[in-house]
């Protein structure tokens, strides 16, 4: 498969040449292989993306290059040749000379990759000093400011003394990019550098990274789980699955004609790509003939194809006007914050006169960046927080005065699913008890009927019944989110509030959950309020979209209208931020 890459190379010597790389993790049961024979070649100045789901070995491959493997990880075979030098034979001491200086590294999560107890300036300066880029206090400082400015921190000189917690996620990632590029390395390893960030921030940061690396002439090894993003940002793609490369070649070729079943599944499941395709389909014909596209679903992509899921959802959609399940009027939430130092107290308007309604059996998406107030609205609808003013009607009933038993009744009809499938399940309760808990709380049925219902729910969310006695830590992220959905469905609610319910999942799992949600909606006539920062997902799942910015709804329309004819600049920005927006697909 790698011949496609080597064929494209000219006389230039490759910067990075990996041959038959094997990485294993030492455990008590022996060595578990994580990377099983990876070959890849990266030319100077080129960008190559490694795509795969978590556990595919993509990050391990990247870490192996500069020997940053965690404790029990060892390179067990193969070669890594960088600039003509064999890195696998390097001692730790020699590797210290390579790291930071010749090969820069930008890690995944900006929140955990800066030391919280040292100032930003300190952490940039120590890098500059360690790599011998500048010496002497003043020069080092000047260089640090320059590095941060380049990375997009305009007021770097003033912010050097600040600590990581005083920076937003996007700003921290800029700092990390600045650190990674501070010594003008020949190669930059970017390990999912933006997957923890909002899409709009992601776009700005990656644009910036692209410009910077092009100017410096740095080659980039880009690790991501999003095929759309990879194809947009890299000329060459390598798709990894279970420690092996299953497909490699020029990005566009792979995207338009994926050969390996796994790649086909990734193409089918990537919301960014699906939303593009749905988009072009609606443009060409008035009917939603989505599956007449370049890419036809096969048995390989069964249950993963977002387009099929979207289409199927549309078929089941009620054609006649239905009563509104949720009506939100002038919903406002003001948080009082205690003054920082000056003794002044301020107010934050998290939600500012928000109006929208959701028709029964349909899906409305509330879209916005973090801090836009979308989750606050969700929490108020769930009555987890009281609004400052405004009203919420569920099935024509004002929820504000509800108390005690009436409130419990409301909760039964309206259930939440939250973002973090790890944090939202009690680790000390088995799956059966977790799913059955709402039944117990609301005193529905007896022991046997509850158990039957739990088994039925496990079927509904396509989990094996044997999971009933298992515990959350034995389940994967996707399975946990299915459990959370089953729990939400236990009381047969009418309304389900999905607060970033698929944002933390890998694309393939995300696709499965989106499909599951679509199936359940058709089957149970559920009303969804879908909260997300990712418009690409919205294209697949939602009928109507409300775009929120700074506590206000700036645009509300049907999904087709929002995508075809966005009115607000902010909506356009969000749309442009969908990865893959710049790719022309052969449709």
């Amino acid at each position: 498969m790698s011949d496609r890459i080597t064929a494209s190379s000219d006389e230039q010597a490759p910067l990075l040449k990996i041959r038959d790389l094997q990485v294993g993790f030492q455990t008590t049961e022996g060595v578990v292989p994580a990377v099983r024979g990876v070959d890849l070649t990266l030319m100077p100045g080129q960008t190559l993306a490694i795509v795969g789901e978590s556990g595919s070995g993509k990050s391990t491959t990247a870490h192996a290059i500069i020997n940053l493997l965690p404790g029990p990880g060892r390179i067990t075979g193969g070669s890594i040749e960088f600039d003509g030098k064999e890195l696998t034979k390097y001692s730790e001491k020699e590797m210290e000379e390579i790291r930071g200086k010749l090969i820069g590294f930008v890690p995944q999560d900006p929140m955990s990759n800066l030391n919280p107890v040292w100032s930003i300036g300190f952490q940039v300066e120590e890098t500059i000093r360690a790599n011998g880029i500048a010496t002497g206090r003043k020069e080092v400082r000047a260089h640090a400011i320059q590095v941060l400015r380049e990375a997009g921190l305009a007021d770097a000189d003033k912010r050097l003394k600040q600590f990581p917690h005083q920076f937003s996620g996007g700003m921290r990632q800029r700092v990390l990019i600045g650190i990674g590029l501070s010594s003008r390395p020949k190669l930059l390893i970017a390990d999912e550098p933006t997957s923890a960030l909002d899409v709009t921030v992601q776009r700005r940061i990656l644009d910036h990274l692209e410009t910077l690396t092009r100017d410096i002439g740095t080659a980039v090894l880009f690790i991501t789980h999003d095929l759309g993003l990879a194809a947009e940002r890299a000329e060459q793609l390598v798709v990894m699955y279970k420690g092996k490369i299953v497909e490699a070649g020029p990005s566009k070729e792979i995207l338009q004609n994926p050969i390996h079943p796994y790649t086909q599944r990734l193409v089918a499941a990537a919301p960014s790509l699906a939303s593009r395709r749905i988009q072009s389909a609606t443009h060409e014909s008035a009917t939603h003939a989505l599956s007449d596209l370049d890419y036809a679903p096969t048995s390989v992509t069964e249950g993963l194809d977002l387009i099929a899921a979207a289409e199927q959802r549309l078929e089941h959609l009620p054609t006649t006007k239905r009563p509104d399940a949720i009506v939100v009027k002038d919903l406002t939430k003001v948080y009082k914050i205690r003054g920082q130092g000056r003794g002044a107290s301020g107010e934050v308007i998290a939600s500012d006169k928000v109006n929208f309604s959701v028709e029964k059996g349909t899906t409305t998406a509330l879209v916005g960046e973090s801090g836009s107030g979308k989750s606050t609205v969700a929490r108020m609808i769930l009555r987890l927080e009281d609004p400052t003013s405004g009203s919420i009607m569920i099935d024509g009933q004002d929820v504000a005065p509800l108390k005690g038993k009436q409130l419990l009744d409301l909760r039964r009809r309206m259930q939440p699913v939250f973002q973090d499938p790890y944090g939202s399940l009690d680790p000390l309760r088995n799956i059966g008890n977790t799913i059955g808990e709402p039944l117990h709380t609301h005193k529905v049925g007896d022991r046997t009927s509850r158990k039957e219902r739990v088994l039925e729910l496990l079927d509904q969310v396509a989990l094996p019944q044997s999971l009933i006695t298992r515990y959350p830590n034995e389940l994967s992220g996707g399975q946990r989110q299915r459990v959370a959905i089953a729990r939400a469905l236990a009381l047969k609610p009418d309304v389900v509030i999905l607060d970033e319910a698929v944002s933390a999942l890998d694309v393939l799992v995300q696709a499965q959950i989106l499909k599951l949600l679509a199936d359940l909606q058709a089957e149970l006539e559920l009303t969804y309020l879908f909260i997300t920062h990712d418009l690409a997902v919205v294209r697949v799942i939602a009928d109507n979209v409300c775009v929120m910015q700074k506590g206000r709804i700036v645009e509300a329309a049907s999904t087709d209208d929002v995508f075809d004819n966005p009115q607000e600049q902010y909506t356009k920005e969000l749309l442009n931020a969908i990865p893959g927006a710049g790719i022309t697909l052969g449709v």
């Binding site: 500069i66 590294f105 890690p107 999560d109 990759n113 030391n115 107890v117 120590e126 360690a130 917690h165």
Partner: protein
């Protein structure tokens, strides 16, 4: 910062009032007449007894006694012990000895504990780590008086390196052995705490990133691993300083140190209200100051919780 310290000092006032009141009440409620006990088997002269009662305000109701005592403290008068010595003089004589002992113990346990804990954590699972864990477990499970007697026997009698009892005036060289004994238990805790903290910090993302930046291990260990790992250890060690003051009672008894522990014990037995309350008040004060210092230290080590300026 100054405002924060001022607020903390204001908060200390009700705490001090509450503790002194409680202690005073408990001493008052103790059974038996302290003056009669003072005379032992002898029958006291009623006139003398009456005079003493008046002198120590023991004829007044409890609440009056308490406020008289408080008023005295405000004038710098901590009262008089039954032996006729002003309580302030006893305080001035005993506290420096115990504080010296506690600081020495704190220094030993902190420096030793952190060093051994750090090496243990960095070499998790190796021989050094395993032996450190076993030794610390032994220290944790042994009662302090056993450690004290063994210490006296080995270093005092067999090797003759230290004196088994402390001479009057408690010079530093005499306090070294008691300080080691006093430090031993917390020392083991600090080894374990540091070790666990170092192991956890080592696996954090920013440490990997530090390697990725091209830093050497020699720099990463003190700058990125040790400093972050110290946060819980410092909190523990500093609050432990207060415990050391109290815990010194047993050690002081064994080594015959003329410190707080022994004096306070005798005062409690004799039911000397003012002496007991004064000692406890000073201890509470030390606790409060130590707590404040810990909180300020914490902010110094961890900028995320640095107090609003």
């Amino acid at each position: 910062m100054a405002g924060y310290i001022f607020r903390r000092i204001l908060q200390a006032i009700p705490v001090l009032l509450g503790t002194t009141f409680l202690i005073y009440f408990m001493v008052f409620a103790m059974p038996g007449d302290p003056l009669l006990a003072l005379f032992g088997d002898k029958t006291p002269n009623p006139a003398l007894l009456e005079r003493l009662r008046q002198e120590y305000h023991l004829d007044q109701p409890f609440i009056v006694q308490y406020f008289l005592y408080l008023g005295g403290i405000l004038r710098g008068d901590f009262g008089t012990s039954f032996s006729g010595e002003p309580v302030s003089a006893i305080l001035a004589r005993t506290f420096p000895v115990t504080i010296r002992l506690a600081i020495m113990a704190l220094f030993i346990e902190f420096v030793g504990g952190v060093l051994i804990g750090l090496v243990s954590g960095l070499r998790k699972g190796k021989l050094f780590d395993a032996s450190a864990l076993v030794v610390s477990l032994i220290f944790i499970s042994l009662p302090i008086f056993v450690i004290a007697f063994v210490g006296q026997f080995i270093f005092g009698i067999q090797l003759g390196w230290a004196r088994t009892t402390v001479s009057s005036g408690a010079p530093i060289q005499d306090l070294i052995l008691p300080a080691f004994v006093l430090a031993s238990i917390t020392f083991a805790q600090i080894v374990r705490l540091t070790r666990a903290s170092v192991i956890e910090t080592q696996s954090l993302d920013f440490v990997r990133t530090a390697y990725g930046k091209g830093l050497t291990r020699r720099r990463i260990i003190p700058v990125h691993i040790l400093r972050n790992s110290l946060i819980p250890v410092v909190t523990y060690a500093a609050t432990d300083f207060g415990v050391l003051l109290v815990g010194a009672t047993v050690t002081e008894g064994i080594f015959n140190v003329p410190g707080v522990g022994r004096t306070l014990y005798q005062a409690i037995i004799r039911g000397e209200g003012p002496t007991v309350v004064s000692f406890v008040t000073v201890m509470v004060l030390i606790y409060l100051v130590v707590n404040l210092v810990v909180d300020l230290l914490y902010g110094l080590l961890d900028p995320r919780i640095r107090y609003v300026k």
